[in-house]
């Protein structure tokens, strides 16, 4: 046990299983329980933050300031500060909402589905991805909450008993959105928090400051690491994973209903749910890569977030990217095959109309750029992955632009056609939401372990090596 023989060299000796099922190490060799715990908890407890962290936090704070200014302006003056108009009732607001919600999907997918599928490599990125989910949902939630004409009446969208004896209108996809997104936010938060409890206890035990001990102590809910605790913890975590799993599919399905249920050409399409879910996973993995690649460098986590993780994420991006690209092709095909003049014109207008540049860029970003992931060389280069991920981030934003304002700008009656452009307030709200996301993310890496310590420990050879006669 004491020797540090890599697990793949030990296991064939102890267990007789085919080689292809042997897990590939997801932690670089040389780590022990103690070194993992030290390394990860030290980021929170001991080390001074690197300069880059301060820079990142500063960007986040500036962003939050921009956001609050924008929201103040918005509430005081009216939603007209945005570029929306009469043909185009939804612009950056819903566009960014969908973009953020999509980004959030990777976290849930990684935590829940990959957990259930026993994909061990998820362990080192799940905490980070879950946090990203939460913050992305927070950023997303801003948009529907503030894009309404009278945001102070948003609570009318909730079914609460009231003196008007009025219920929300349950046939509206926006109502479904309210339930879908709020459920998603709640379950994600719970899942994330439950997963944090053992690590919070570790931090409680290791932190030196009194305040930190008290706070981590409260948050760790009296975790002592007893077998009973572990038993209950494992059951709860699995149950929550089970709960989260359908959410991965349902949230973006319902978000896609906002469009699919409406009858605007370019929105009204039955294949939207799978198309949107694939797009969401696609966007989510791109965002995880975007954040993980700098973060592992900044906090020297190359040992835990290995090239294997990055490469796997690159593969997921390629797979979902192909689904998304296929969907674009299907949009064109349906437009042609439907025989419906409105649908045909919708597609023609996307490709040749006033927003043709957006569509062309979309194809480059979402269709062509991820093809680089076919090459192992690109998949195993942080630069290649980062660039591809950035293309996808932009591409997914463009996809929502092409779907939402472009479809609205030219619908049925040519007399009502119009153009849409984001105003400076649209951009400042977008920048502000990115700022909020960064702000929360940087606080997260400062105060909570960004990699699950106890789960990482299970990835070590130590955890796998069992005395004779015991099952893994």
């Amino acid at each position: 046990m004491a020797d540090l023989t890599p697990v793949h060299e030990i296991r064939p000796l102890t267990q007789d299983i085919p080689e292809r099922f042997i897990p590939v190490p997801t932690v670089e060799p040389g780590h022990t329980f103690a070194s993992v715990t030290d390394h990860i908890s030290a980021i929170v407890l001991q080390k001074r933050m690197p300069k880059l962290w301060w820079l990142g936090l500063a960007v986040g704070i500036v962003g939050v300031t921009v956001l609050t200014t924008t929201l103040g302006k918005l509430v005081l003056v009216g939603v007209g500060v945005f570029g929306i108009n009469h043909p185009v009732g939804w612009g950056f607001d819903i566009l960014n909402f969908v973009w953020w919600i999509g980004i959030g999907h990777a976290g849930t997918l990684i935590s829940a589905i990959l957990l259930l599928l026993r994909q061990g490599w998820r362990t080192s990125i799940n905490r980070f991805a879950e946090a990203m989910t939460l913050f992305a949902v927070a950023a997303a939630g801003l948009y529907p909450a503030f894009h309404t004409g009278r945001p102070w009446y948003d609570f009318w969208l909730f079914p609460y008993p009231n003196t008007m004896s009025l219920w929300p209108q349950f046939r509206s996809p926006l109502m479904w959105d309210v339930f879908a997104v709020s459920t998603y936010a709640t379950v994600s938060a719970l899942f994330w928090y439950v997963g944090l409890i053992p690590d919070l206890a570790t931090l409680r035990d290791r932190s030196r400051g009194k305040i930190a001990r008290v706070l981590y102590g409260m948050l760790s809910l009296g975790w002592r690491g007893s077998a009973k605790h572990w038993f209950r913890y494992e059951s709860a975590y699995l149950l929550l994973a089970g709960l989260s799993t359908p959410l991965v599919l349902s949230v973006h399905t319902i978000v896609s209903f906002d469009f699919a249920v409406a009858q605007i050409p370019g929105w009204h399409a039955t294949f939207f749910p799978p198309y949107f879910v694939a797009g969401a996973v696609y966007a989510g993995f791109a965002m995880v890569l975007t954040l993980a690649i700098p973060a592992r460098k900044m906090f020297h986590l190359q040992d835990f977030i290995t090239m294997k993780h990055l490469e796997n994420m690159g593969k997921v991006m390629l797979a979902t990217g192909l689904i998304v690209f296929y969907s674009y092709a299907m949009e064109a095909f349906f437009a042609y095959y439907s025989g419906n003049g409105f649908e045909r014109y919708m597609w023609l207008n996307r490709v040749t109309g006033p927003y043709w540049k957006m569509y062309a860029m979309l194809i480059v970003c979402n269709g062509l750029a991820p093809q680089m992931m076919w090459f192992r060389k690109m998949r195993t280069s942080t630069f290649g992955l980062f660039v591809t991920a950035m293309f996808v981030n932009v591409g997914m934003w463009l996809e929502r632009f092409v779907i939402i304002p472009t479809s609205l700008s030219r619908d049925f009656l040519p007399s009502s056609w119009g153009m849409y452009h984001g105003t400076r307030w649209d951009w400042s709200m977008f920048a502000g939401s990115i700022g909020l996301f960064l702000f929360l993310l940087f606080l997260f890496v400062r105060f909570l372990p960004m990699i699950s310590i106890f789960e990482m420990r299970t990835m070590l050879p130590e955890a796998q090596a069992h005395p004779e006669g015991h099952e893994a």
Binding site: W156, A262, P414
Partner: protein, 1008 residues
Amino acid sequence: MTETNELNLARFRTRLGNEYWKSLDELSREDFQQAVETEFPAGALALERGVDRRDFVKLMGASMALGGLAACNRPAEKIVPYVRQPEGLIPGKPIFFASAMPISGYAHGVLVESHMGRPTKIEGNPDHPSSLGATNSWMQASILGLYDPDRSQVVRHLGEISTWSEFLATLAPAAKAGGVRLLTQTITSPTLGAQIQQFLAQSPGAKWHQWEPAGGHNVREGLRLAFGGYANAVYHFDKANIVVSLDSDILERGPGHLRYARDFSSRRKVRKGTTSINRLYVIESGPTGTGSLADHRLAVRPSEVETYARQIATGLGLVPGVMTGWVSALTQDLLRNRGASIVVAGEEQPPAVHAVAMAINQALGNIGSTVTITDPAEVAPVNQLDSLKQLVADMNAGAVKTLIMLGGNPVYDAPGDISFVKALDKVPFRAHLSPYYDETSMHVHWHIPETHYLESWSDARAHDGTVSIVQPLIAPLYNGRSPHEVLGVLLGGLDALPYDVVRTYWSAKVGALNFNATWRKWLNDGVIAGSALPARSAGGTPAVPGGQAANAAAGYELRILPDPNVYDGRYANNGWLQELPKPQTKICWENVALVSPKTAAAIGYDDKRRDALVNEKQTLMADVRYRGRTVRTPIWVVPGHADGTITMFMGYGRTRGGKIATPAPADSMLAPSLESFHLSGGTLGVDVNPFRFSDSLNGGSGAEIALTNDAPYSVACTQEHQSLNASDVGDDRGIIRSATFAEYLKKPDFVREHKPEVELSKDSMYPGFEYKSYAWAMVIDTSVCTGCNGCVVACQSENNIPIVGKDQVVAEREMHWLRIDRYYKGNPENPEVYHQPVPCMQCEQAPCEPVCPVGATVHSPEGLNEMTYNRCVGTRYCSNNCPYKVRRFNFFHYSDYETPALKAQRNPDVTVRTRGVMEKCTYCVQRINAAKIDAEKQGRRVRDGEIVTACQQACPTDAIVFGDMNDKTSRVAQLKGEPTNYALLAELNTRPRTTYLGAIKNPNPEIK
């Protein structure tokens, strides 16, 4: 007693002077009471013995009245509640009064809706010959003009606030000094005419001049040329099978246009059993409402119209010559319809064309049947240009000692080569009666605010001479004075009230016997029955005047027209009119120079360059040069415009006259600044009066145009240049469905040819809702819509629809619930133009309803798609999902909640919406409910025709019909049964309640 008196008073005064007091109680201590007793013995007694109820009420009443007095500097006019309520006045129920709106002097009969003494809405007077119940946009918008807070509110002397009595004091000696001149606009008012004549008679040396920049200069002179003396032509389009317009927008302009549109459309509508409809030939330079109804239309330069007029005369054998194009077929058509045709010339065409037109009418025997010639309706028709020139010459010569301008704005609108201001400054005493403190008011000694027509008594003649008494609805809001009062002063009667003046005139005219009853009847009817001018028997026989039409000169031809919205500039401060998309160009808030696509290409503004801009509703700036003067203006390409011609509109570039006419820079904090509001100089649009020369008021040849290097300019245009060609929009969308009358006769249900398999399918998974009581519905006849905008402003007025300003229109946020879509078909050089009013379709399966998360838009059991404003959160999902895009969102707080005057203007039956709320057409649900309440009280169903929506009421061509579809005898049910009835985007299965009748044209089969 005496000793305390002195003592206490002194002490009291000292105390007041030196001490602070905190309450009246403190003051009213014993010494104060004693002081009071000294000064007011009786009052003190009352205080001493306590106040009884009666005295208290008396005292309080008096202090209230006096308190009110102290607050203002004019005699308080006590308002009192009705002691005896006037018959018919029920609080909350409007009363209608008949009156008449003078436009360029001519009366347009109106019924004014009054809510508790506040006029709120204008409707047409069905008894008035010029209206027949219809209204144009100016009449509708005049109600806003009444309350306009920018109207002049005080008498000004050299710009300083003064008083009417001071004016009177200075006017009297000035008027007696001789050399008095009056300058008025066109006047048809018999009373005012009589007053002026009386003044002229009693003031030797006094002269009367008339000047109105736009209007019937050429009509007047043309008829004089034809008949040898001033005359008035009244047309009867209901009797005409063939109508030829020589650059005349007869259905949208001129004194009788509402009547003419109604008469014309009565011969145009195709219903079951119609065997013939009229035919309209239009030869014109730019697109007009009349032109869009044309069966055959030529787009020619203004100067070429005369050529065609003479060719028609040739065809009739009146003059020798040759005919080109379809003129010979046209003349054959005319010859087949002798006595049942009309040839009419346009206001901008020179008198010769009018004379030719009259000669043709004479030759065809139309005069006496379809054309009636009467004495002029104007009091004293003159050549107004000569009249103005004479005045200016006299002013320059120093012959004018006193100039009194009753209305008008000659400093702004006098022809560009007449230096009116310089001449004006030489007049020792000049006064100007005007509703706004405008460009002219700046240059006079005395500015007197003028009353609105709803504020003062007067009278005026209609296009056929019928007299209406102009009845005020409200006391002058802003201390205005009417021209009758000013003339009354000049005549020496200081207290001549307009009411007395008008009444006295008419009682003298018809005799005092039973005059009260007669007068009441006139006021009630809004017209003096039988006062139309009789057909003139004597008079010259018109002949084709000698001479030849000028050959088209090289270069561009400039054509200057009054603006369809602000006219000659007089309506420039009316927000409703400013924001109204102009009928043909759909541009609002400014004027642009119109050119044809070919002309644009010739100056380097070709399709390729334009395509990039047109989506953004942007255009390039151009310099228009004409006779040595240059004006920089946005250029706008209009299909159907004559090549080589530039059309510009009057009425813009105002430098004074209200916040809307001359706006301040847009508040960038309130709205995203998408485009700077103004052209250079801080005006709205450009002033084209410098291009109006006294030898050719309406432009002429020799103009040049060149693009400038300025950045693209955003125009507040509410629609792109849509074409309905399938190649442009991917498919035939079936939005406009048209056929010729011959095709209709062969296949009356030609509208069904569009995707019958989808449109006629009634497949549904669910049983339909059964509309058991009423089923409100509307049918709009696209055959007769000229796009005149009367309905749009009527809707705005009825439903308290706010205006949003140019930058918001550029941002595509105009709020009109009813818009008129304009589509082109065919060749862009001379396309067919179709106008389609689009209110809410009130879909039975409304796409907007299921998507609202809070249930703010719901369906009524009568089929209305209802909007609950106070439940709306503003997600805008309903608007996104509306295929007709008729929903309007308050992106900002557009409604003016602050200006007190505008509060009074609003319709109290309709909610004023706040920001963040969606709104839309309701089929005037407030009118529906009012009628239903009446019907319920009487225990009956609402009768057909009892509910008239605002748009329907205004429509000059009666193209809009509203009613209960469940009543099979109703007009709307009948029209729904017409084979030409179709629904917009029926294939979406929205089942709209608003449907359209296909557009039917009647081209001459002899023309290719």
